[in-house]
């Protein structure tokens, strides 16, 4: 049933994408028994290499935001706690391995904790933090070369240049499709777009691409231009469900720019494919993509990028989400809020335990979105 028939109706495929995004990989064995998945956490884990190793990348999401595994203190983020708890409950047993990328302190710690207390095979990559530092790209190259070897050891199969090039092309194609969808964002319901983007981090990649290719025309048809919704930018770490985006939509808002780890930021940046040296193309993409707060290309680069994005998309408001105990995002939140405000963009900072929003957030969001609707630009439009 999950195999994509060439004549599946586009709305069936849309249903498939939405379903996959809700399942968060839970039924992967039944649905894709012939596929081998490799778990990862962070958008800086190069998915090209997972694909080139003949595996499908599966982004790990927690099944609860209230898990408290004894191996982590309560003051760690619920993404780390929830996924580790699932490891201890042997929910990731079928994965060929799990990849950790050095991004924040929590991820750095989680990798060691996982290796010490879990059952899965873990692999690490430590990309440069200072992406433009002297020697960074040479170092990055060596780290990727090591990673290729580790993946090959894991699968007992060499990773060829051709496999790398094919994976690069597949990722470039995925990112192009997603970018097409991203441009429809102002005219499509936000939870749908967000869910489709999440599905791409959970499904076998080839299936995802086929489904998305076939759905795009329908999605374009669904896109309606005239609306009076408050245009918002959302920036956040991982959001494992659509709760926030649904509430925004329900309250009359529309997410026109998405800078979340599991949203458009995961796919953004330019993928080069033609140098004939796939590794160096991969490095250029990960070095150049809009960065997360854990990485630095230059002091104000991320802040300027986001204020420029808000401007381009004509966002009237920005919602800055801080996952409880997530330091990197909490740090940037302050400068970001100030910068947005200086650009005339109102901001709301929401601190969430996980991805779910509740009554308290509804009240704050409602007031925020209403205040935007009264803003002069929006009244003019209507």
């Amino acid at each position: 049933m999950t195999k994509i028939e060439t004549h599946s109706a586009p709305n069936e495929l849309l249903a498939l994408l939405l379903e996959e995004s809700t399942l968060k990989g839970a039924e992967r064995f039944q649905r894709y028994p012939e596929r081998k998945f490799f778990g990862y956490f962070c958008s800086y884990f190069p998915e090209e290499l997972i694909l080139a190793a003949g595996l499908d990348p599966l982004r790990l999401f927690p099944d609860s935001e209230n898990s408290t595994p004894a191996e982590l203190p309560a003051y760690s983020c619920s993404l780390a706690r929830g996924t580790l708890d699932m490891e201890i409950r042997e929910k990731w047993q079928d994965l060929v391995g799990i990849g950790f990328t050095h991004t924040c302190d929590t991820m750095q710690c989680l990798s060691g904790i996982w290796a010490a207390s879990g059952h899965s095979k873990t692999i690490d990559i430590v990309p440069p933090v200072m992406l433009t530092a002297q020697g960074a790209s040479r170092y990055y190259q060596s780290e990727l070369t090591n990673l290729i070897q580790e993946l090959a050891t894991l699968t007992q199969q060499d990773i060829t240049q051709q496999a790398l090039q094919d994976a690069l092309l597949l990722c470039a194609h995925t990112r192009n499709l997603v970018t097409e969808l991203d441009t429809l964002r102002p005219n499509l319901p936000s939870p749908i777009v967000f869910a489709i983007l999440r599905a791409g981090q959970l499904m076998p990649r080839a299936e995802y691409v086929k489904a998305l290719e076939q759905c795009l025309p329908t999605l374009k048809e669904m896109a309606v231009t005239a609306h009076r919704r408050a245009k918002l930018l959302v920036t956040s770490a991982v959001l494992e469900n659509d709760s926030l985006f649904t509430m925004i939509e329900d309250l009359g808002g529309r997410v026109v720019a998405d800078d979340t780890c599991t949203g458009y930021r995961h796919y953004s940046g330019h993928t080069l494919t033609e140098s004939g040296d796939p590794l160096s193309d991969i490095i250029k993409r990960y070095t150049g993509m809009p960065s997360c707060p854990c990485k630095n290309r230059s002091l104000n680069e991320r802040i300027s990028y986001l204020s420029e994005l808000a401007k381009q998309r004509e966002a009237q408001g920005a919602i800055i989400v801080i996952r409880k105990y997530c330091e990197p995002h909490a740090w940037d939140a302050v400068t970001l809020a100030e910068t947005f405000r200086n650009h005339g963009i109102r901001t709301l900072t929401l601190e969430l335990e996980g991805a779910n929003v509740g009554g308290q957030e509804r009240t704050r969001l409602q007031a925020f979105i209403e205040s935007l609707s009264q803003a002069p630009e929006l009244s003019k439009e209507g």
Binding site: L72, C104, D105, A116, D124, M130, G135, R138, N146, V334
Partner: protein
């Protein structure tokens, strides 16, 4: 991560079943001079062309010293703010400005002090001419120093030391080395001075000397009874942090070492009737420095060594000065796997003949604390000694729940009742 403070601890120590160190006087003098010269920097820095850098505790300060840059340590000041009970009001300033209460309390109180120097002990820190951060201790310092760089509008130099999941790899070492060379070029521009290789070598020599003095002093604590207890180590680590590579620092540690050696000769313990020997893991609980450790001392429990102040006792790596800097600063323990850290603790327990260990689960410091439970299990498994976990914060007293802590400590110490 770190830091210690200096002042005023002699007096309460006397009342507490606790042998005060004569060297504390010398410490106060040494540190007093350092703070005085630092606080007056604005008068002498420019004319003498000696910029002031704010640096993280793991920054390669020997290189800065070779450029005649004067360094001040926000983490050190934050520890002083805490010992002087100013952390809460300073953190509240930062929190009102939007910084989450879950961020490192050193960083929050530092930012509070930047925004409201009038609330900060010592009048806050003198303004920096540049900022130098090294992420070998945590990722927090990068974000914190980015905020400072925007606020002060001064150059920020970052040394990116890749986290070591195993041993230092050649590519990581090469990457750090390249950055150090680039940093030297930046510093030449900032200071208008050329890098003098001889002066750098001399800085490295002194830094190695001070490190071995600190290391030897600590090793005397393998004696029974131990001549020093954790609060001594925490207080007397101040010079190795801020005066690494200086002659004043060396002079001071020579004195301390002599006193500690003498104590061992005379069989004098830091704690009267030492009965239980413990190892401490994580940053000190500064706001409770004496009341917390007293819970142990009054039962004859002495912290004979610790991983925190021991971070400054690591030998320099070999090679040219730059190579040595690259490896030494990348290999610091906070930049290494839980496995490495567990082994480090196991060795301390064996070498210091400890009966148990206490881990401070420090809300502020994720890289230090998040991995502690898996370390605790491994260490208990391999050494057979018990390990206690206490949740608190190194600087923010709001995270310290006195009653539960006391109960846990008492229950833990009761497990040693058969030790005489």
């Amino acid at each position: 991560m770190p830091n210690a403070q200096s002042t005023k601890h002699n007096e309460p120590a006397k009342k507490r079943n606790y042998r005060p160190l004569v060297s504390t006087k010398a410490l106060q003098k040494t540190m007093g001079r350092y703070y005085a010269i630092t606080n007056y920097h604005r008068y002498w820095g420019k004319p003498l062309r000696r910029p002031l850098a704010w640096v993280t505790s793991g920054a390669p300060v020997e290189l800065l010293r070779a450029f005649k840059i004067h360094s001040a340590y926000p983490e050190q000041y934050a520890a002083i703010y805490s010992a002087r009970q100013a952390t809460v009001s300073l953190c509240e300033v930062a929190e009102t400005a939007g910084y989450s209460q879950d961020l490192c309390s050193y960083a929050r109180s530092n930012i509070g002090g930047v925004l409201r120097p009038d609330l900060a002990p010592l009048g806050g820190m003198p303004k920096p001419d540049l900022l130098v951060a090294c992420n070998n201790i945590c990722g927090t310092v990068l974000k914190w120093y980015e905020v400072l760089a925007r606020h002060f509008n001064v150059p920020l130099l970052v040394l990116d030391t890749p986290f070591l999941t195993g041993e230092l790899t050649p590519q990581a070492k090469e990457y750090v080395l390249e950055q150090l060379n680039a940093m030297a070029v930046d510093l030449e521009k900032i200071t208008g001075r050329k890098l003098n290789q001889q002066s750098l070598a001399e800085q490295m020599r002194r830094s190695a000397e001070i490190t071995s003095l600190w290391k030897e002093t600590r090793q005397y604590c393998q004696a029974s009874p131990s001549p020093l207890n954790a609060p001594d180590l925490f207080i007397h680590m101040a010079p190795i942090v801020v005066l690494r590579g200086s002659q004043e620092g060396i002079n001071y540690y020579r004195k301390l070492e002599a006193e500690v050696k003498e104590r061992v000769k005379l069989g004098q313990g830091a704690v009267n009737n030492e009965r239980i020997r413990l190892v401490w893991d994580n940053i000190a609980i500064w706001p409770q420095l004496f009341s917390f450790y007293k819970l142990f001392a009054e039962k004859g429990a002495c912290f004979v060594t610790d991983t925190y102040s021991g971070g400054w006792a690591a030998d320099h790596a070999p090679g040219t000065p730059m190579e040595s800097l690259a490896a030494t600063y990348t290999e610091v323990f906070l930049n290494r796997s839980p496995e490495y850290r567990a082994n480090q603790l196991i060795n301390l327990i064996r070498d210091y003949k400890a009966n148990g260990f206490v881990m401070h689960s420090n809300r502020s410091c994720k890289p230090y604390s998040l991995v502690q439970e898996v370390i605790r299990r491994k260490v208990m498994r391999e050494t057979g000694v018990p390990g206690l976990m206490i949740e608190a914060d190194m600087a923010d007293p709001r995270a310290y729940a006195e009653e539960p802590v006391r109960n846990r400590v008492q229950a833990f110490l009761e497990t040693f009742d058969d030790l005489t």
